[in-house]
Subunit: 504 residues, 2 copies
Amino acid sequence: MNVSPNSAPNPAYDRLVARFARIATIGEAGAMLGWDAAAMMPPGGGTARGDQLAVLAGLSHGLLLEPAVADDIAEAGSRPEPDPWRAANLELIRHAHVRATALPADLVEAQARANASCEQVWRQARKDSDFDAVRPLLAEVMHLVRQSASALSPALGLAPYDALMDGYQRGITAADVDPVFADYEVFLRGALTKALELQESRPAPVRPQGPFPEAAQEALCRRMSALVGLDFDYARLDRSTHPFCGGTPTDVRITTRYDTADFAQSLLGVLHETGHAMYERGLPEAFRRQPVGGAAGMAAHESQSLIVEMQTCRSDAFLGFLGTELHATFGGDPAPYRPENLARLWRKIGRGFIRVDADEMTYPAHVILRFRLEQALVAGDLVVADLPTAWNDGLHALLGITPPDDTRGCLQDIHWYDGAFGYFPSYTLGAMAAAQLMAAARRGLPGLDGELAKGNLAPLMTWLRDKVHSAGSLMGFNDLMRAATGETLNPAHFTAHLTERYLT
Amino acid sequence: MNVSPNSAPNPAYDRLVARFARIATIGEAGAMLGWDAAAMMPPGGGTARGDQLAVLAGLSHGLLLEPAVADDIAEAGSRPEPDPWRAANLELIRHAHVRATALPADLVEAQARANASCEQVWRQARKDSDFDAVRPLLAEVMHLVRQSASALSPALGLAPYDALMDGYQRGITAADVDPVFADYEVFLRGALTKALELQESRPAPVRPQGPFPEAAQEALCRRMSALVGLDFDYARLDRSTHPFCGGTPTDVRITTRYDTADFAQSLLGVLHETGHAMYERGLPEAFRRQPVGGAAGMAAHESQSLIVEMQTCRSDAFLGFLGTELHATFGGDPAPYRPENLARLWRKIGRGFIRVDADEMTYPAHVILRFRLEQALVAGDLVVADLPTAWNDGLHALLGITPPDDTRGCLQDIHWYDGAFGYFPSYTLGAMAAAQLMAAARRGLPGLDGELAKGNLAPLMTWLRDKVHSAGSLMGFNDLMRAATGETLNPAHFTAHLTERYLT
């Protein structure tokens, strides 16, 4: 593996490859146990599972921090490396090592403890809409996040908040995101009102009448996931409270939940997770378990779920095919399954409080709000006690609505309460990248929509495997976008997509 | 944990406790991944799973072999330890360390490779009844097993075969087993013929008429497992090709398979695995993840599955309760569900070729055959090439029948082809221990059969938890039996049970 005919022997590099393969294999074990905890584990297993994951994390961290690693990185880097994959892999190994060594062990432990305590209290606080109950724990989480950002900042040569973002999507900074989000805010102000007017002027969508038995929904989800291209010899579909895509590239585990009154939640959710799964399945096999063989970041990952769910499966072309499938599956009145009705139903827009329920036009507003607030929190310009007010004011400025309580406000997302700062922008960068990739795919594959109308996703998925999946982490986000589409991230494709879908 | 008021501080012992907890936690992760591989994993995940398990095994082995361990064992043992649990734990830690250090790393690796290759070829060879196809691989496995036995023998102060047995059931040697099995052979010669005559003289059993839907079988299995006492907040029931009990004490995973024509396979199988599961659930919590907190060995484990399945659930008393439950579940003609019919159906005896299909009277003959052959193989008195003939002659001597092919002969069990020598006696020692424990429970709980007839297993399971489960590995097998029943293993209880059940 990883031996290019251009490369001279480099034993230090080979040692690093072996070590990182071992670290990644421990990570795979952890990923499977994480899936099990969410999808299978009886409640009594929780405590022991926490211990198991902590021991695996400690072993993995120990392997990364052994003194030999720094020596091997220096030695491996002292030789010329003409092969771009090996060169990128070494650079990512160095990057991972810098991140790991920048953080003192006691800070890492304190964060693990503080995040776990805060998250636990948050679950109840969210139910009770009681921000005060979790406020001191979030303050402690913030305190440690700021310490962590300060420690990472000089090591990575990035501003503190950028050093946090780097942990989720390498190669993107707040300076890249700020103008993109500012422009989107301007676009949204005009577009949302117009789109809502247009929506009002059209017939209201008709809901398909259930109940839709879970077994039928599950079979449908599995069939549609396979239609996208997921091979269930290398994947499973199960149930969990919060749907996700986990596992490993040869054993992907996607989950969903079923509502017998509405099959859309499971179906569209599974299509979303299938996009993630296809990315994992398509990663370069020759660099499996190496940093360069992994996904290019969370924004890149989200672009793959959204190009399947939003760009493809909610497109006019595909809805024609899907409506026929749905009526064949569930029977009854055909009217709700007509593509124009499905479009009105599944592309309904509106001002809402909850990010995960938001349509694709208003979703970025939720992300922009969080992006700005978390920057202020990390910078120390906003204190935790002022968060609920800042949240409500911010949402009002963006969408003109004010949450009636903190459950529907600053308590709704797990991220911050679990110590995750710098993640939110990935959602919207992913949505923008998905639109840009879809535009490029349409240029590269002229008959694409005709194929989607026949339920044939193979040309698109082959294109994505070629342009995105198989590139692994060889390039940063913008270089990946340039290689795939001819330009770095250009939000105009996303606003053009929204304009076409919601304003015409 | 583990701090007794009688014990002086012993930092070396505390370090060992922490290390063995870590090793056990890695083992838990491996156990969950093993369950997943059998019950959940798509076929494509197999290769990566093998890597994951190998890396975990290597990490665990590395922790056990670090030089500090020998020093800590010596230092910990130099202090007086009045607490019997801590003393036994240190002794078991020493024992585990002796076993691990006795085997050279290259031998361990060679065995892992040879066992995996042999097992893979065996799967096809068994289908084809082609012993020659697997013969050279089994010869290599044997060669390494003999090396391993020779290395363990002086380290443990045990004969080579006894050193292998020690890996499955500590404290039992071939010298203990030989006379027990010789006596049983004599008993069987007379008993089997008489029992078969008696069986012939009685009405043939009537089979309940299916089909029995899988969902109904699964619900029944779950209900009966809960009736025995398994708490599904700490356990799961799933499907696998080969039923087993895996997982960890707070997250037990039992599996079964369903045959819609016959619910007995899944029901009795689940009751068997529930016996194993109850043992794991009842292990002493204060010594969780310590050697002394684990089960007392494979014979002890099998005694717990068999006391539930064979001694309790196939007893006249319980069959009365169960028959009513079954008829309520499946409906139809009540005749097949009458206890006397269930007894004739599920306690049918006969001479057969296959160990796993054998009744409880002839099962020991299958074990005796394997016990004698594997001793001869390990001693070098029998060469692999002569195994099929030796097998067929041996079975004929014991049961008077000759397998028509090696599929139904020496190719039927996975054990040897996977390198497991010294395991087989545990099955029959467990059956004998189960009968002895049941006799003691009947003495200690005078109204026991009346309770079983009402479907109340709580008194028996409480007794077992008190006498067996909660003792963990504090005692060796015979000391455990003496503490629980007043005498060391006494096979007379098993023959008395068989006499009562099959000869009266």
